[in-house]
């Protein structure tokens, strides 16, 4: 194959010398050698114009160059071929894509639920098994088991999938009236209702549902009137034993500008988090996807994707999808090198973090002056951040104890050891501290 390409490149090279650039681009672009059949060269051309033109004008020239470079060549035939990819479109896979020309909107307009989000496609791993178990309990006893169910975790971890799966299940199996809404949409509808004096209809609308699901609750932050409306809605639904589900990117207690009475209500039922998926779970997720799409990927490729796209399931799916499209286009399974090439953009290189970066972020987070970290002061508000910095430097950047001490204002390495041990111990008892450190890490990495 590459011999033919080389041969054609040499032919094109010599033709290019003899004709003008415009001529060359018009007539020789998209031509290539299709096959060499025992001395007869078949040249692929994009259309009949080019076929006739090459035959009439350049046939002798092409034949001569082919003989110069390729030796024993008897004749040249020109064949119309749409483009290089055309050859592979005969594969059955490509056909399926063209089958449904009109996309039916997949999201149900009445309840905003996406039927794709179901438990069958939800992969359970150690990182989300608690959240999964809680939602299973909710399905069995809606309104009674855990009300409200509050799920939080970083973006792309499957919160929406889980709460929508609950909604879909209750809708399909127990015939409950379900409504799914994002907090942003809730605010917009509320404002519209206020403007057009339809506040009563608005109140009515949401009070009639059996299951109320609100996504991305953190966006309510600072919207006081909407919060108040939600508070009343919450109470009404709760008193009537209607199931309520919320999702957010952080624990309710850490959402800024959220009224205390809402915070306490959110935490009243069950609050679970979904952490980052571990390596095995990522592999499991990929394997489930592979099964639904029906393509082949070797184990080392799966392993490679799983270890390079970490933390975010949505990115994992995106990467997977681009691999699927590529392999459909090529009509075969991709090998490891091709996959590496493909995802070199989506897997971001690890940032090189310096001690200074950590100090800056942490002191910023606790709102203290950066310099105070290096000073000898033992004020309480400085000591804790300093210990957190030491802990992160040790745990995440694996810097040695003595050099941490030296970099943070010439402290003894035993001080550093003590700080790390203290934070390590405190995390286990102090939930708030653990959250803070999680947060700082997400800012850093």
């Amino acid at each position: 194959m590459s011999d033919q390409k080389k041969l054609w490149d040499s032919v094109l090279g010599s033709v290019e010398l003899q004709v003008s650039k415009a001529n060359f681009n018009t007539w020789f672009k998209d031509t290539y050698i299709l096959k060499n059949d025992d001395g007869i060269i078949y040249v692929a051309v994009p259309n009949a114009f080019v076929r006739d033109w090459l035959f009439n004008k350049y046939h002798k020239c092409i034949l001569k160059s082919l003989r110069d470079y390729g030796g024993d060549i008897r004749s040249v035939e020109y064949v119309i071929t749409r483009s290089e990819q055309k050859k592979e479109t005969d594969l059955p896979k490509k056909q399926e894509v063209g089958e449904l020309p009109l996309q039916e909107p997949i999201i149900n307009k009445d309840d905003n639920l996406n039927p794709r989000y179901v438990f069958e496609s939800f992969v359970v791993g150690p990182f989300n098994e608690l959240a999964h178990a809680a939602s299973q309990a909710v399905i069995k006893k809606p309104g009674i088991a855990y009300n409200p169910l509050f799920i939080y975790g970083d973006t792309g971890r499957g919160k929406t999938h889980l709460i929508q799966a609950v909604g879909n299940h209750l809708k399909n199996h127990s015939n409950q009236r379900v409504i799914y809404i994002t907090s942003e949409k809730f605010v917009v509808e509320y404002v519209n209702a206020l403007q057009s004096n339809k506040i009563n209809q608005f109140k009515e609308k949401y009070r009639k549902y059996d299951v109320f699901i609100m996504d991305d609750i953190q966006f309510l932050s600072g919207k006081e009137k909407s919060q108040e409306e939600l508070f009343h809605l919450f109470n009404t639904l709760y008193d009537n034993n209607k199931q309520i589900l919320f999702s957010s990117d952080r624990h309710p207690n850490y959402i800024d500008n959220l009224e205390a009475r809402l915070k306490s209500r959110f935490s009243a039922g069950m609050t679970v988090d979904i952490s980052a998926p571990d390596h095995e779970s990522r592999i499991a997720i990929l394997k489930t996807k592979i099964k639904t799409v029906g393509i082949n990927l070797t184990d080392d490729v799966i392993d490679f994707i799983a270890s390079n796209v970490d933390s975010n399931i949505r990115e994992l799916e995106g990467t997977f999808n681009s691999i699927v499209v590529q392999s459909q286009l090529k009509g075969r399974t991709l090998n490891l090198i091709e996959v590496k090439n493909l995802i070199k953009d989506s897997s971001k290189p690890k940032k090189a973090l310096s001690v200074k970066d950590v100090v800056k972020t942490v002191s910023g987070y606790y709102n203290i002056a950066e310099e105070s970290i290096y000073e000898k002061t033992r004020k309480k508000e400085v000591v804790k951040p300093r210990q957190v910095i030491m802990f992160i430097l040790r745990e995440n950047l694996s810097i040695s104890y003595p050099s941490i001490g030296e970099k943070l204002g010439g402290r003894d390495h035993t001080t550093v050891i003590h700080s790390c041990e203290k934070i390590k111990g405190d995390i286990k008892i102090d939930q708030k501290l653990a959250q803070e450190i999680e947060h700082i890490k997400s800012l850093l990495f």
């Binding site: 018009t26 009949a48 114009f49 009439n56 063209g98 020309p101 009109l102 996309q103 039916e104 307009k109």
Partner: protein, 366 residues
């Protein structure tokens, strides 16, 4: 080359083909038309390597020969000459001397040898058709084809035969137009997918042709041919999506509106449309009302009530207004039936009493 011909006939033939040559081709010859004088006729040729056309007209030929001249320039010149009934074309050192009445001009020409050959179609199958019916059919649907070339089969019109008729279909996957035209010899017509950007050229060339036209097919081209012209277009090799399955079989709501009133309402509403062109239709047989609604946060809102006869269930859905307006020119009846299946299913539009045209639009997501 030297010949004399009727000015108006030359101008008419030129206007059929002068849009074809590409305006900014990197090869100058591709923006030219080729003028050739043969025994008793003048032949004009144009191509953009996607379509190729050759038209001829009777002429008094003194010396045979040919020359290529810039299409736009030459066509404009001929259409502006008013002096005399006839025009004389003569090649002088590769340029064309045009004389008409008292006006003599010389247009710079290019070598005719560089002009692309218009490919012959290796006729696998052929039939004859009525050009007027064919033009009508293909123009009724080509507007619904996709603008993007990503899926070439969607940027095209699909033509196939079904029970004595030719069926023309295009879709861009958000709406679909289908037109059936009764035509004799329909059964011999091979299914083809014609790129929609070539449709205007086909229509222009076929316009005013009153005799039947021979159509030939091969794997990659379609050719239309009569005594006075030959037209070749590339066709798409591929399969057109199976669209029959998405046309609803039953409807839950039906509304019959007067076309003129409906157009009026759409036109007024369009003043308020936002960048998504969203228009909401509220069809309520229970309250006996049919309203269209456009809301725009920046400008304001408009509600139009349309007189209509309604049946079925209440339904509310939104559409891209442009998709609805587009179809109006293809509907010839003065009343339109709008059929709905539900809030997430396509709207089907037909003219009352007109079974030949069908238009399908997907509703917008909220």
């Amino acid at each position: 080359m030297k010949l004399e011909c009727v000015r108006e006939r030359l101008s008419a033939q030129l206007s059929k083909i002068d849009k074809i040559p590409s305006k900014n081709a990197n090869l100058p010859i591709l923006s030219c038309i080729l003028i050739s004088a043969r025994k008793g006729e003048l032949v004009l040729r144009a191509t953009n390597l996607d379509v190729g056309v050759e038209v001829s007209l009777p002429a008094h030929v003194d010396i045979e020969g040919s020359v290529a001249v810039p299409a736009q320039m030459f066509s404009s010149l001929i259409s502006q000459l008013k002096g005399d009934k006839s025009v004389v074309l003569e090649s002088v050192e590769g340029n064309v001397k045009v004389s008409c009445g008292g006006v003599v001009s010389v247009v710079k020409g290019l070598s005719p040898d560089d002009f692309p050959v218009i490919p012959e179609v290796d006729s696998v199958a052929s039939t004859t058709i009525n050009p007027e019916s064919f033009t009508k059919g293909i123009l009724s649907v080509s507007f619904a084809a996709s603008q993007s070339q990503v899926k070439p089969e969607l940027a095209s019109v699909y033509v196939y035969s079904l029970d004595e008729s030719l069926v023309f279909v295009s879709t861009d996957s958000f709406r679909l137009a289908e037109k059936k035209v009764k035509i004799k010899n329909a059964a011999d017509f091979n299914p083809v997918i014609i790129p929609s950007k070539n449709v205007a050229d086909i229509a222009r060339v076929l316009a005013g042709v009153d005799e039947d036209v021979v159509v030939c097919f091969d794997k990659s081209q379609i050719q239309f041919k009569s005594n006075s012209f030959i037209f070749v277009s590339r066709v798409i090799e591929g399969t057109f999506p199976n669209y029959a399955q998405i046309i609803p079989k039953e409807y839950s709501t039906e509304a019959i509106v007067l076309k003129s009133e409906f157009i009026e309402a759409l036109k007024t509403s369009s003043l308020f449309s936002d960048k998504f062109n969203q228009i909401k239709m509220i069809i309520s047989p229970s309250e006996k009302k049919f309203e269209t609604q456009v809301k725009n946060g920046d400008i304001g809102e408009i509600i139009s009530r349309i007189h209509t006869s309604l049946s079925g269930e209440d339904v509310e859905l939104s559409f891209n207004q442009r998709y609805i307006t587009d179809s109006m020119q293809a509907i010839s009846s003065d009343s339109i039936v709008l059929s709905f299946v539900g809030a997430t299913k396509p709207l089907v539009m037909r003219g009352v009493g007109d079974k030949t045209f069908l238009y399908l639009v997907m509703p917008m997501n909220k």
